[in-house]
């Protein structure tokens, strides 16, 4: 996977190479594991009488690396192969049933990969034990005479122990293989950041300054479009693995904002923290799954958009960004030992996204398109991307994507809050004659811009109040981004995350703030029909998909009995 393939991928706008390689690798791995299991492993006379089930472990690892669908397919195929391969004498379908369930469960447990290595290993071990128990239990249920309670009780514990002992190895191999082959990331999927358990922070400053150990990761694979240039630091991978992040080989200390997610992140203990992490990861990968989420910080250099290049139309730019080398950018916290080194500027990517939930799919995709388009037009094409954030030549940018993305289905006449930052010599920023409220912000000709021989990143909303930089606790105060937003805009910023460069929260530009409250099952406003079955009832969420209709799948958030008694329907019966 070289740069040629990457460019082809960019040009073609497709993600085929990585996908195919991943599928091929999965097929090869499963076949090899089935054969090795049957020819070698089952014949081993291990102490205790148990044998490890490598096929089960491989299915678990594939599921955790690829998701539920991958787990189901891999489990079913591997199980069917085990059922049909010559020495098999059990009922056909026994292992297929067990393994597809296990693969699905492992896929559902994939979120553990982004939380902590121990949690992921525990999940894999638990699924392995569950799979062994299910295989034995199914054989006992089916009353096949080759399994008795006695033999199951004899063989199950050592087998489970062996499986648990081997599960880290398989998980490690599969995750590393998946990372090496480049996992696709679609904004609708769990992001790659989540999938590989790694951060999206790839080759950052440290890699290019020669400290490979700090750097570079799998970030080159993000977006399904691996960049050959970023892959060359294989040394960094081994060093990274040696530094302890062995499961994914992911090192991202240099990027504190990125550390809010992935392996580095502490487990989100509260719902707010979980939401924030989800927002961060989503924004890092270009998605915008929730309304009102935006992200301020540097775009990870490894993060490439998937969408093909599209030239923006004259007024088609949704996210306004100051073109010049000025307006705001955050500065990374120098690592220890990096004092005195001139730090290259890194771009800020400030996105305000406000999209209707129903249109989250198209909207987020559109957001990425415009993002790339803006970047391409403003900075001379995608070739400059590699330099972003690392070479110092790139432009600090603020991208404010409001929800009113062009063509997102919004009514044309609806006034969309929109913020224009900087001056932008932004081509096609849509300056002219749009009936959109707009706030023009001071550009980089800010009074301290020349201090560090390069534009100090600064965001000044209206007037600058330097004390606000202390919130972030950034190490070099001279280079700290200053956020000063008095007035209505300032009140909307809810805080700076503890990692400094990332700034997130809801904005004024987000029109749907009230929707972040618990949703109501039916609209409670005046147009509610009087015969509605559902009175005003707070629900956190409803069931999804086909399970929504099943009455026993109702959750605790449904209507309570109190409401039911007092509802109009009951009163009508009285």
């Amino acid at each position: 996977m070289g740069a040629e393939a990457t460019r082809a991928g960019i040009a073609g706008g497709e993600i085929t190479g990585g996908e195919m390689k991943r599928k091929l690798a999965a097929v090869i791995a499963l076949t090899a594991v089935v054969l090795v299991q049957l020819t070698i492993v089952n014949g081993l006379a291990l102490p205790g009488g148990g044998t490890p089930d490598l096929v089960l472990l491989c299915v678990i690892a594939l599921g955790m690396a690829g998701g539920p669908a991958v787990g189901v397919i891999a489990g079913f195929c591997a199980g069917l192969a085990l059922d049909l391969a010559p020495p098999a004498s059990q009922l056909v379908g026994q292992y297929a049933l067990v393994l597809c369930l296990v693969g699905y469960g492992a896929g559902r447990l994939r979120f553990t990969l982004r939380q902590s290595a121990l949690l992921a290993l525990a999940a894999a071990a638990g699924m392995a034990a569950l799979g062994e128990a299910m295989a034995a239990g199914l054989a006992l249920i089916l009353d096949t005479p080759d399994v008795s309670w006695a033999s199951a009780a004899r063989v199950l514990p050592p087998s489970v122990l062996l499986d648990i002992a081997l599960s880290p190895l398989t998980l490690f191999l599969s995750v590393r293989l998946a990372v090496a082959l480049g996992m696709t990331v679609s904004p609708l999927d769990d992001s790659l950041v989540l999938e590989t358990g790694g951060s999206a922070a790839p080759a950052t400053v440290a890699a290019l300054t020669g400290e490979a150990g700090m750097a570079r990761v799998n970030g080159a694979r993000i977006g399904g479009m691996p960049r050959g240039g970023q892959r060359r630091a294989a040394v960094g991978d081994s060093l990274a693995a040696a530094t302890g992040r062995w499961l994914v080989g992911d090192v991202a200390e240099a990027v504190p904002a990125i550390g809010a997610i992935g392996w580095l992140a502490p487990p989100a203990r509260s719902r707010r923290a979980r939401r924030r992490q989800a927002r961060l990861t989503a924004m890092l990968t270009g998605a915008s799954p929730r309304k009102g989420a935006f992200w301020v910080g540097r775009r990870p250099p490894g993060l490439l958009p998937i969408a093909p290049l599209v030239r923006p139309s004259a007024d088609g730019l949704a996210r306004l960004r100051p073109g010049g080398a000025v307006a705001g950018s955050a500065v990374a916290v120098p690592r220890p030992g990096q004092t005195g080194r001139a730090w290259p500027g890194r771009a800020i990517h400030l996105g305000l996204a406000d999209e209707q939930g129903k249109r989250a799919r198209s909207g987020s995709r559109r957001a990425r398109v415009t993002w790339l388009a803006a970047a391409a037009s403003g900075r001379g094409g995608p070739d400059r991307f590699a330099a972003n954030g690392v070479l110092g030549r790139d432009v600090p940018r603020i991208a404010f994507g409001t929800g009113g993305l062009p063509g997102a289905g919004r009514a044309a006449g609806r006034p969309v809050p929109r913020i224009a930052f900087g001056t932008g010599g932004l081509p096609g920023a849509g300056r002219a004659a749009r009936p959109v409220p707009r706030i023009a912000f001071g550009t980089g000709a800010l009074p301290g811009a020349g201090r560090a021989a390069r534009p100090v990143p600064r965001i000044a909303f209206g007037s600058a109040s330097p004390g606000s930089a202390a919130r972030a606790g950034l190490a070099p105060p001279a280079a700290a981004p200053e956020f000063s937003a008095p007035g209505p805009l300032g009140s909307s910023y809810r805080g700076i995350d503890q990692f400094g460069t990332g700034y997130h929260g809801g904005g004024t530009a987000r029109s749907g703030r009230s929707r972040r409250q618990p949703r109501f099952a039916r609209s409670t406003s005046g147009h509610q029909p009087s015969r509605s079955r559902h009175p005003k009832t707070a629900r956190m969420s409803a069931g999804r998909g086909v399970f929504r209709r099943l009455p026993w799948m109702r959750r605790a958030g449904d209507r309570s009995a109190v409401w039911r008694i007092g509802s109009r329907r009951m009163s009508g019966l009285r």
Partner: protein, 336 residues
């Protein structure tokens, strides 16, 4: 990919397919769907297993053989040399081990007058099933319900035959039932497997109607089956290691240690044509492993009770394909 409706649909489809297959197989094991699937998958996977086994067998044998490990990790060069020499030694011992197994197999088959077809184990059953795959199939003249022996004793029976592979149900499987005859007296009983064992030596469960005949150290041979399918007579099965004393049971029960090592199967023989005469107890190993009545020696001890119950299979000699060769007494087994 996260968990979406499509994923759940996929899971539902997979579950339904698996359950349907299980139901079909449970209802009728020889239904066309199952047999078609097995016939389609058997040659492919069996061939792959053959290929993999041909590559990995020496490796596995190497790791099995080279057990001694020196602790002196000082000089890398010496270690390299040691590894090389050990590899050569392992190859030599490997051949020796195989040769020894084969020779024992030939001796056993020669004593019993069986015509055996040598094959080697290429795959082992998954999970709780005690089955193995041999690298001989229909093309080699293997048919279902043939007896499989190794140099020590009874291994199992052929249950399914593919083109180049066959599946053997080991005697240690819980589904396997082998009719036996106690060595000196000739009492009739049967032996069932107990599945996988934690100790690795899978003991078999023996049930004999005449419980007075059960003594520790008594050896068993296989009794003749009807038309010698699935078991030919006279194959050593095992030796009684403990007698279970349950007074209320109809049958006397005992635990039998099989002569064959089911966890270390390598070269086995498939009896392609049964002996013309029942070898009786002549194939049993001469020294009994446990101190036992000295009359276990071999064949001639037909005193006391004669062939109890069963007619001698020599009277109902099966139609062997080439009786002339089989009748030639100690004819060597046919090698491929």
């Amino acid at each position: 990919m996260r968990d979406t409706q499509r994923t759940r649909l996929l899971l539902a489809i997979a579950l339904l397919a698996a359950l349907a297959l299980i139901a079909i197989d449970y209802q009728n094991g020889s239904s066309s769907v199952i047999t078609t699937l097995r016939k389609a998958a058997g040659p492919v996977l069996g061939g792959a297993e053959r290929a993999v086994a041909s590559v990995t067998k020496p490796v596995g044998r190497f790791f099995g053989a080279g057990a001694t490990r020196t602790a002196s990790a000082s000089q890398a060069a010496m270690q390299q040399q040691l590894i090389r020499m050990r590899a050569e030694l392992s190859a030599a011992t490997l051949d020796q081990a195989q040769y020894r197994q084969l020779r024992r197999l030939l001796q056993l088959s020669g004593r019993g007058g069986y015509r055996v077809m040598a094959a080697s184990v290429i795959a082992f059953g998954q999970g709780y099933q005690q089955t193995v795959t041999l690298d001989a199939g229909r093309a080699d003249g293997i048919r279902p319900q043939q007896t499989v022996v190794d140099g020590n004793g009874l291994v199992g029976q052929v249950v399914r035959v593919g083109g180049r592979t066959c599946t053997v149900l080991l005697a240690s499987d819980a589904r396997s039932v082998v009719g036996i005859r106690l060595a000196p007296g000739g009492q009739i009983g049967w032996v069932t497997g107990q599945g996988r064992d934690s100790s690795g030596t899978a003991l078999l469960k023996l049930q004999v109607l005449d419980r007075a005949a059960l003594k520790v150290g008594t050896q068993l041979v296989s009794a003749a089956s009807v038309r010698d399918k699935p078991f030919v007579p006279g194959v050593p099965v095992g030796v009684i290691v403990s007698v279970r004393d349950n007074a209320g049971a109809l049958t006397g029960q005992a635990l039998v240690r099989p002569f064959a090592h089911f966890t270390r199967l390598d070269v086995v023989g498939i009896v392609v044509s049964p002996p013309l005469h029942d070898p009786r107890y002549s194939v049993l190993p001469p020294p009994p492993p446990k101190p036992s009545p000295s009359s276990v020696r071999s064949g001639g001890s037909r005193s006391g009770r004669g062939p109890a119950g069963k007619p001698s299979p020599s009277a109902s000699a099966p139609v062997s394909p080439r009786p002339g060769q089989a009748a030639a007494g100690l004819s060597g087994p046919q090698r491929r």
